[in-house]
Amino acid sequence: MRAMELDHGDALRAGKAQAPKLSFFRTLRFRLMLSVALVHAVLMGAFVWSAVNQQSEAIRAELRNRAHSLITLMAVASTNALLAEDLGSLAEVTARVKRQPDVTNGAILDVRGDVLASTDPHQVGHYLRIPPRGSAEGGRHRLQLEAPIRVAGHQVGTVLLGMSTRHLQSELAATRDEGLLFILLALVVGSVAAWGVSLLITRNLYTLMTAVRRIGGGNLGVRVDLQANDEVGLLGGAFNAMAESLQRISEQAQSEHQQRTDAERLACVGELSASIAHEIRNPLSAVINAVKLLDRSDLPVSDRAQSIAILNTESLRLQRILNDFLDFARIRESRLVIGDLSALIEEVAALIRQHPHAGPVTVEIQCDVRPCMARHDPDQLRQVILNLMLNGLQAMPEGGQLQVRVRCCGRTARVSVTDTGCGIPAQLLDKIMRPFVTGRKQGTGLGLSIAQRILMQHGTTLSILSHVNVGTEMSFDLEVA
């Protein structure tokens, strides 16, 4: 019985280390033990209670019967001696009675109530009032009996007999103690047995639990080997089948994902290649044409100068395209630190305000909280905000309002860059994030792609809300520190 791939001890230790702490009193083992112990206690309690009661009744009945037999015999044995007032014989009767077990006292009275014989010699010769009939119980530890001595229907005397119930009480106490001992023994034995049974049952469950945790941790190769032919054994089989199925599906999904990723990567490479080719084809054609023209000896000086100007312009354009592409391709891993967003935005805004095209544009910064501490990579986020603000600036060649706003909302800070420019046509909105997609003739279409890739490394994405001839709002969220 073990979880394969790890030995059982390791598996249990791993399970215990990772499992939430389960109170002993809430475990199946404890509940099973408690149930069995309670059943034992209740059943044994009922049995012992019944047995003690029965034995108690039997002992009491035996004592009463013995007392009645004894007093009847006493009455019969003393009749002649009583009638003859044979004190010696009567004394012999009481002496013999006194020797009987549990007898505390005995007396023989004549019809007048005079004591003719008694186990207490001081009573002999004295008048003794006979206790009322029916008062058979003579106290907590005494059974007091009285029987008339009759001859031919005439009462000629009375016999009194007292018997101690101490022996009875001690027997009952011994029986009760024995019963309690049995209950205790049953509790202990039942609890130990229940503990053993619960161990047998739950040991497999613990193995299963450990295996489930490991599967939850991503190890789909875990299997259990439960040496049980009961429901738990079936559960183990079902678990193994489930794990097998999960592993198969997972491997299949992984394979499909890999294939899809490879395909997407290839498509992306193709798309990028096409985009790059498309972007560089026009300036490269212009450069080639300009070089061909310069190669002609009859080219007029004015045309030569124009060709050289085209050559310079298109070369610079090619260089800018390649630089942007390299920036896009070389985005490093983000190094997140906690820093003030508002200061970063102010810094970028200062740069924007000095941009050659910033003249007719009003730049406005709004921060709900200053400083607004958030987790980010300052260099990368500076580029994101710069790209977004440049996009806004370029969307308003005739002037307008560029607003950068930081709003704190719970554990996040929302940064939005809003312009009042020409807006993005609806057909471009879906693909505006792709590389080399742009709405401007002079743009490379990599600014938003770079911003989106950086933001994704920060665990967020760029949202765009735009209306043509109204303006555009681009926003993203960051975790507040």
Partner: protein, 263 residues
């Protein structure tokens, strides 16, 4: 029990004093009780005072108690009465009708038919209730002595304490012959009576007396006398007599009737 005794002493005085009716232990105490308890009840009603029936283990004890005035009313044999009257008792009534005789009883299947000394088997075993039993012992001994039968010499004598015991001893073959008197024989179970046979009867003597203490109030003495002499007139009285076996009841007795009684 001690607490009960103390409570009894402290809280309750002894009930009305009893008259003690002592009966000579002619038979077993239980047998005597069956015979005399109805009479004791009748006396109790007449005297408006409880009457306790008592007997004694043997004749000697009975007479010692008589001497110590332990009984108020006594029923005894004529011979013992002659001693009792010296100790302060006087006779008021005696058993009526039936002559007071002693009888000698053998088993019905016994070969002993009479008291011919020549035909009595040697070593005959004879039983008596008590040496002081007047009718059963003294009178029968005197009767046999008058016929030249020497009991002490020719027979093996055993005393059984009471006439019942002596009669049962004959019945069971423990002795060959027993001295008794008719009331005792009549009180025996029927099968015992049927198995026994009377072979001799002594001449009559004054009947068994009932005497009272001299210091008993005269009114009570009168009540007792009236009751005893009129038992045959009431159903209850006749029932009491039936238990006693004295069907004719009691009659007034006089001291002089017992003057001639001697051992």
């Amino acid at each position: 029990m001690v607490a009960m005794l103390a409570a009894g002493r402290a809280a309750a005085s002894r009930p009305q004093p009893y008259y003690r009716f002592g009966v000579l232990p002619l038979q077993s105490p239980t047998m005597l009780a069956r015979m005399f308890l109805p009479l004791a009840d009748a006396l109790q009603q007449a005297l408006h005072r409880p009457v306790q029936f008592v007997t004694a283990p043997n004749f000697s004890s009975f007479m010692r108690r008589v001497q110590r005035h332990k009984y108020d009313i006594i029923y005894l044999n004529p011979l013992l009465y002659t001693r009792a009257r010296r100790w302060g008792y006087h006779v008021i009534v005696k058993v009526a009708g039936e002559p007071f005789t002693g009888i000698l009883v053998v088993r019905r299947d016994s070969g002993i038919r009479g008291l011919d000394p020549r035909r009595l088997p040697p070593g005959l075993r004879i039983g008596f209730p008590d040496p002081n039993a007047y009718a059963a012992t003294i009178m029968t001994r005197q009767y046999m002595a008058a016929r030249d039968i020497h009991v002490n010499r020719d027979m093996k004598v055993r005393y059984f304490g009471s006439q019942d015991s002596a009669l049962m001893a004959v019945y069971y073959g423990m002795v060959d012959m027993a001295g008794a008197w008719y009331p005792s024989l009549r009180s025996m179970p029927r099968h015992v009576q049927a198995a026994l046979r009377v072979i001799a009867q002594t001449p009559p003597q004054p009947q068994m007396p009932i005497a009272v203490r001299d210091d008993m109030p005269a009114a009570d003495v009168d009540r007792i006398t009236q009751l005893l002499t009129h038992l045959t007139t009431t159903a209850r009285g006749r029932a009491a007599l039936a238990h006693l076996g004295f069907n004719r009841g009691f009659v007034i007795a006089h001291e002089r009737e017992y003057n001639g009684v001697k051992p």
